[in-house]
């Protein structure tokens, strides 16, 4: 880089043209009496730290120890660099660079500071009894949120940088004595292989590293909850934190992990098990109820008992459309209502609900556009699809019911069964980081059943799930027996 301060500064100015927030402060270091300059981006740094902890000590404090840096600061994190590229990336990431006349090194002082928001309740994954802290857009803060739960030195963090332009920092967090090293290797190599401009969001990252991009099912868990991330880490999974993104990726996932919620572990186990079963039922309803309606009405009406058939026929007499069109009309209206509800600001959002409720629920039936039964079918499908705790899984199921409806319209019950067959075939061949997605059902793992369809008492859940193939499978002992009776 050279020794002369003025030439170095000239070079910096040349590199950072049209950068009005670049600040260069000239000063003389009190300790050695040499000339120096601080270079930083005003927008990415904490001004108070610069003034109080860098400029003040530099200007006021006396002689220094020869072995250490030739100046005084109160900043803890100081790095040295000699390359222009290092200097550039340090400035752009919010560090302050100290250039000293006659010294070939540049010193990078950690002064990062940018607009942040306060910790808020998670928006998508609300919970009744879980913690009310959600992840934020600052990666280091997210790490802190996780670390608070796990003050364990086995909690390792690997730092990577992804994106040629964005240079997004990505951290892999895992418990070194629990997580399977082979899976870690797979994850690391997939992350390292990404070659793009920039990663804006964790959802984008997922698309680059997932096993099958042509699947409607999420193959990694995206969560905004520190507590569920920690619970997954303890089960032997790995978390990937992406800077600037409030959701954290957890891998590997299985199909059933999307039906587990953090609340399951903080409510009584019987209730939690009941709710768990309810979710699987909801999954089936959301997937095939409209399709079954179509199949029964247009093909196999002999399956329906006489009285029910009569009332269905009666309510359908005024409807001029075939069942598929009737169902599509309603389902698509419902999807539009859902989507518009998300985009609208909260006060206006209610209007959509009222309009939808009145127009679709009542008037459409009175006008003879859809039948009563259809409204019931669509409404229960909608409710069922929102029970599933994972938003990604919920949307996958909502999408899948459309092909199911079409195949049911074409082939009746047989169509539904073929559709389910294709679904099963797809699910068993799907993998997440190379581990089977259908586990613990296919391949069957008896010990994982304790936390699949039901959630047995935590004191009996002494093992980590086998589907993550953890190094250390025991997570506690049978705590009921250990206490003993007096």
């Amino acid at each position: 880089m050279g020794n002369e301060l003025s030439t170095k500064l000239e070079e910096v100015q040349k590199q950072f043209q049209l950068t009005p927030d670049l600040v260069v402060r000239h000063l003389t270091i009190q300790a050695t009496g040499t000339k120096a300059a601080l270079v930083y981006l005003d927008s990415l740094t904490d001004n108070e730290v610069i003034n109080n902890d860098i400029v003040n000590p530099l200007l006021s404090e006396g002689p220094v120890n020869k072995d250490e840096h030739p100046f005084h600061t109160n900043v803890g994190n100081i790095r040295k660099g000699t390359e222009w590229a290092d200097l550039e990336s340090a400035i752009l990431s919010g560090d302050t660079v100290l250039l000293i006349d006659g010294n070939p090194d540049a010193f990078f002082l950690d002064t990062k500071g940018w607009p942040k928001r306060a910790i808020e309740d998670p928006q998508i994954e609300t919970s009744l009894k879980g913690a009310h802290q959600g992840f934020l857009e600052t990666g280091t803060q997210n790490i802190a949120l996780i670390r608070r739960y796990l003050p364990d030195r086995e909690l390792k963090i690997k730092e990577l940088t992804i994106g040629v332009r964005g240079k997004t920092k990505v951290w892999i967090m895992y418990l070194a004595d629990v997580a399977n090293p082979d899976l870690l290797k797979v994850l690391e190599s997939r992350l390292a292989a990404i070659d793009v401009d920039s990663i804006i969001n964790t959802g984008e990252l997922v698309e680059y590293i997932e096993d099958n991009p042509y699947s409607p099912f999420p193959q990694f868990i995206l969560t905004e909850r520190p507590d569920s991330t920690v619970s997954q880490l303890l089960q032997g999974r790995m978390a990937v934190i992406v800077d600037c993104s409030p959701s954290v990726l957890v891998a590997p996932a299985t199909f059933i992990t999307f039906f587990q919620s953090i609340d399951d572990y903080s409510t009584r186990w019987m209730i939690a098990s009941f709710i768990r079963l309810l979710r699987y039922l909801a999954f089936i309803i959301a997937l095939i109820l409209p399709a079954t309606y179509i199949a029964f009405i247009s093909f196999n009406y002999e399956v329906i008992p006489m009285q029910l058939l009569l009332s269905i026929a009666e309510s359908r007499t005024r409807v001029p459309f075939p069942p598929l069109l009737e169902a599509m009309l309603m389902e698509i209206t419902l999807e539009m209502m859902r989507e518009s509800g998300i985009r609208l600001p909260a006060p206006v959002g209610q209007t959509v609900g009222i309009v939808g409720g009145i127009i679709i629920g009542q008037t459409a039936v009175q006008a003879g556009i859809v039948s009563n039964i259809m409204v019931i079918v669509v409404a229960s499908t909608a409710i069922a699809s929102f029970i599933i705790p994972s938003y990604d899984m919920g949307t996958a199921i909502r999408l899948l019911r459309f092909p199911m409806m079409i195949i049911a319209f074409m082939f009746g019950i047989v169509g539904i069964i073929i559709g389910l067959m294709i679904l099963v075939a797809h699910l068993v061949s799907l993998e997440s980081l190379g581990t089977p997605y259908g586990s613990p059902l296919a391949p069957f793992r008896w010990s994982d059943m304790k936390d699949t369809f039901v959630r047995i008492p935590l004191s009996k859940m002494v093992k980590r799930p086998e589907s993550t193939s953890p190094l250390q499978s025991r997570r506690g002992k049978d705590n009921r027996r250990a206490g003993g009776n007096p």
Binding site: G412, V414, M421, I422, A425, P436, A442
Partner: protein
């Protein structure tokens, strides 16, 4: 050298592949056939069939004992050389292909008869081909997972038969051996036809992770199959009178028709639709075996293109011939005879040959 280590299957998958291959459409008509050949003692023929199956399975395992990493194709090549082995390999592959095709055709005929009389048969076959390609094209491990999941999804089905228990007349079954032992022997033939399928063992054995559990695996697989068959047969016998039952083509379906719920008028249709899952695990297993056989014959690693080729050939065949029930039954007779060759005669012959072979080639078998 373990060349199949990549696709190793667990004991459960091993069991369910055998079981899945065995249970096909046969169960629907089995009780009628048994009643025709041996009266109400027919269920005992199933037990004999089960014992025969076990013997054959154990023989196959014995054959492989010295060559644990070989499929039947590798083994035959090792024993008889590249060209001579084709004499056996081609019929085996052909048998798997024909059986796969037959199971699909039968399933298609059931569907046409009960659900979709207007839909062209090749279209139904095309629908079958999609999940078939998705599973069989992927490899044995995926097939194992599929069969396993299908087993759990359909495990409730035999228990629905219990709904008719209160209308059963158990006296129909008595006395045992009412016409002596001969009718029971005569019933062995139809019962063997419906429990063919364990011959997939010829191919899946080297993929099993823990070979020492193979015996346990085949016993469990065959027992699950036979228990379901015996249960269905006995309930059919007890429900219908001995004369009445022979007049039905598919007594099991006629029996299911009697089950009625206040919320579901025709339970048999739901049952049959779900039964398609069970049947699919049979034809998909055979499809894998067939495609694997072809890939071995042409010495290619990847078998998935052959799944597609066989599937297309079957669809074309159905499109040209439009098979009827009678044709399907006729073909079934022929293929079952081939099956007896592959499943019972081949193990015996190979076992005998291997005994001689290892006498002469001591030491260089491994």
């Amino acid at each position: 050298m373990k060349k199949y280590a990549k696709n190793e299957i667990s004991l459960m998958q091993f069991i369910f592949i055998i079981n899945g291959a065995q249970v096909g459409t046969g169960i629907m008509s089995l009780s009628g056939e048994l009643a025709a050949s041996s009266g109400t003692d027919g269920w005992m023929s199933l037990i004999i069939g089960w014992l025969l199956n076990l013997v054959a399975c154990l023989l196959i395992i014995q054959v492989f004992k010295r060559f644990p990493d070989d499929t039947v194709y590798d083994l035959l090549k090792r024993l008889f050389g590249k060209w001579l082995s084709l004499l056996v390999v081609i019929p085996i592959t052909l048998y798997f292909t024909i059986f796969c095709c037959l199971v699909q055709i039968k399933a298609m005929l059931y569907i046409k008869a009960w659900f979709l009389p207007q839909t062209p048969d090749y279209l139904i076959m095309f629908l079958f081909a999609i999940p078939t390609y998705m599973v069989a094209g992927k490899g044995l491990r995926i097939l194992g997972r599929y069969n396993e999941l299908v087993f759990y999804l359909t495990a409730w089905m035999p228990f629905t038969l219990l709904f008719v228990l209160k209308e059963c007349h158990w006296l129909h079954l008595l006395p045992l051996f009412k016409d002596g032992i001969m009718p029971v022997i005569r019933g062995v033939e139809p019962s063997i036809y419906s429990i063919l399928g364990f011959e997939v063992l010829w191919i899946i054995y080297p993929f099993l992770k823990y070979k020492e559990k193979a015996t346990q695996g085949v016993i469990i697989a065959n027992s699950i199959t036979i228990l379901a068959y015996i249960m269905a047969t006995i309930i059919c016998f007890a429900f219908f009178s001995p004369d009445e039952i022979t007049s039905y083509h598919q007594p099991l379906l006629s029996l299911l028709k009697m089950i009625e719920f206040s919320f579901l008028e025709r339970f048999d249709m739901i049952f049959l639709a779900f039964f398609l899952f069970v049947v699919s695990s049979s034809w998909i297993s055979f499809m894998f075996m067939a495609a694997f056989g072809v890939s071995q014959m042409v010495r290619k690693q990847d078998h998935s293109p052959y799944v597609a080729i066989i599937a297309v050939l079957i669809i074309v065949m159905v499109f040209v011939i439009h098979p009827s029930w009678n044709q399907a039954n006729e073909w079934q007779k022929w293929s079952s005879r081939m099956g007896i060759g592959v499943a019972y005669a081949l193990p015996l012959l190979l076992w005998a040959y291997v005994q001689v072979y290892i006498r002469f080639h001591k030491g260089d078998t491994r």
